[in-house]
């Protein structure tokens, strides 16, 4: 008994056996206070916070999210066409509190990886593992004139006040007016989103302002997602003028005109300019982004940053996985990452689980299309097993999308 360590004593006394039986030995230091901090309460972060607590209720989880409301980006394109209200897409964070998640409605000011802490105002929060789910920010500087005009030129690419403002501008448009919408170069949040939006605006104009038209200036060579399905849908809308390979270079708010890379000048009455995007600012400032200075590379099983130990990144901010930047993928990453983080904190091997993607796009007031992707992990990397598209638009798919949203909102926040 000379070298009596606590662990030896546990084994010797038989108490250790009880402990082992109860779920394995954890390190005492880690057990004393295991803290997970989550930055960002969107689809990924809210899910990760909830599932960290569900996986191990003894872990302290703090979520940093400045907004008191969660507003769903999925379905916000329907608000623009007046077929859905933003109120129906707005939820609160009370469900997470019931799981014991501590919520601070404040922004994370900075990450200090060396000290394992996050600065919040004058305060700082220490963590054992940090989950960063910062979403996207806009690269205003890549379009001339946009930085100066940014509050007057709407993106409506983060659901909220801008969604309502753009809906109002569309409603106020005179019949015969021109709406111009621009699609940024890949990668951006929600690959089918711009085309769903184009369909919904075209449907709205077609129905309410038949002399108006919508011009879509796409920086990409072709429709980025659900290509065949959207092409078929666009044929329903003679008022929709889709122009590929038209990257917006400049906006002149006074002249109500945008200039594209080939030099075309396009006049508008209402503009919806979706700017180029990168990971949320905090990820860039904490040097979680790669050489492109835009997106964060992560381990495909644990979502741990390849650049910073003990920091995990999930959701739209990530790159390198063959998955779209969708709410469904962020939700899946949130669950998988939470499980990995908890297992790592408990000294266990994280389970090897791939995400999935179920993605619906509405194309008029009643019908929708969908794409579904299943993935697996092969040699430590996410690879696609299969992608399946709906044969065409249908009311049944739209109904499924409503079931999906009821379920996934609850999975994220309930």
């Amino acid at each position: 008994m000379q070298n009596l360590t606590r662990r030896n004593f546990l084994k010797a006394s038989g108490l250790g056996a009880a402990l082992l039986g109860a779920g394995g030995i954890r390190s005492f230091a880690a057990e004393a206070k295991r803290r997970v901090v989550v930055i960002g309460g969107g689809w990924g972060g809210a899910t990760a916070a909830k599932y960290s607590r569900l996986t191990d209720p003894s872990i302290e989880v703090t979520l940093l999210e400045p907004s008191r409301e969660f507003i769903s980006c999925p379905f916000s394109n329907l608000v623009l066409a007046g077929v859905e209200s933003l109120k129906n897409l707005t939820m609160n964070y009370n469900g997470l509190r019931k799981h014991g998640v501590k919520i601070r409605h404040e922004a994370a000011a900075a990450i200090e990886p060396d000290k394992r802490r996050v600065r919040v105002g004058k305060d700082s929060l220490e963590y054992d593992r940090l989950i960063v789910s910062p979403g996207i920010d806009f690269q205003w500087e890549l379009v001339e004139g946009l930085a100066q005009a940014k509050d007057t030129v709407l993106h409506a690419w983060k659901a909220g006040p801008q969604t309502l403002q753009l809906a109002k501008q569309l409603q106020s448009l005179a019949d015969g007016g021109v709406v111009v919408m621009t699609v940024p170069p890949v990668a951006f949040r929600c690959p089918p989103g711009p085309y769903e939006r184009a369909s919904m605006i075209a449907w709205y104009l077609h129905t309410k302002k038949p002399k108006s038209k919508l011009i879509v200036l796409d920086a990409n060579k072709d429709i980025v997602s659900k290509t065949g399905l959207f092409k078929a849908v666009f044929k329903d809308y003679p008022n929709l003028d889709y122009r590929p390979s038209q990257k917006v270079e400049k906006i002149d708010v006074g002249a109500k005109e945008v200039t594209t890379e080939p030099g075309d000048k396009v006049k508008y009455d209402v503009i919806n300019l979706i700017p180029p995007q990168r990971a949320g600012a905090i990820a860039v400032e904490a040097d979680l982004v790669g050489g492109d200075k835009r997106w964060c590379e992560v381990d495909h099983v644990t979502y741990e940053s390849v650049k910073q130990k003990n920091i995990h990144v999930i959701g739209d901010a990530t790159i390198g996985l063959p998955v779209p930047k969708s709410g469904n993928v962020a939700n899946a990453m949130g669950k998988i990452c939470a499980t990995a983080v908890v297992n790592l904190l408990n000294g266990k091997e994280p389970p090897v689980i791939a995400p999935g993607n179920t993605c619906y796009s509405w194309v008029n007031d009643k019908e929708a299309i969908a794409v579904v992707n299943a993935y697996k992990i092969e040699n430590g990397k996410v690879v696609q097993i299969e992608q399946k598209l709906t044969p065409g638009k249908s009311v049944a798919v739209a109904r499924n999308s409503l079931a999906w949203r009821a379920s996934i909102w609850n999975d994220v926040l309930g």
């Binding site: 008994m1 606590r6 109860a22 057990e31 599932y51 569900l54 389970p351 097993i385 079931a403």
Partner: protein, 202 residues
Amino acid sequence: MRKSLLPSLLLVTMLVLIFAAAETEAGPLDSPGAQKALVCSACHGFAGNSPGNTVPILAGINANYFKKAIKDYAEGKRLSPEMEPYSKYVVQFGVDDIANYFASQKRQPAKVKADPNAVSRGATLATQCISCHGDKGDGDTEGTIPALRGQAAGFVQAQLALFKADKRKPEDAILEESKKRILKGLDNNDFADLAAYFASLK
């Protein structure tokens, strides 16, 4: 030595008590099936209790029936743009753990409220169904006949329509025969009523 051991003993006892308290709070995801089924909850709800009308509730599903459904989706015998990829996702894990996980969950009745008139019309129509599905809609224990009790109405209605349109078939010839005979006299409104009735069974 003895003197120095006493504080250690106290410390260990305290720690064991702390551990015991923590371990009793073990989370609901402490099974291999729960972890392999993590992505399923996006559509099927937590523990398979789908809150949506057209997505089936998997909580309490017969494990054999679940495995058969996954196999049929993966082989393209049942058509669903959603489930064809996801069935292969489930297959990669070997199906058993996930089937057992959902089978062991408690089914909560469907959350979507039904029109009482539809439920009552459905109850009358359901007299044709109960010889196979059971008078409470519990299905059979082998997992050949699915449980319909508390199942999502929109899902059941859609499946009835698929059976009638010959887009989904039971493998058993006798079952197919009886199903065709019953469905022949029913239309989509009847399917909605039947589905409302079975969804209402608690």
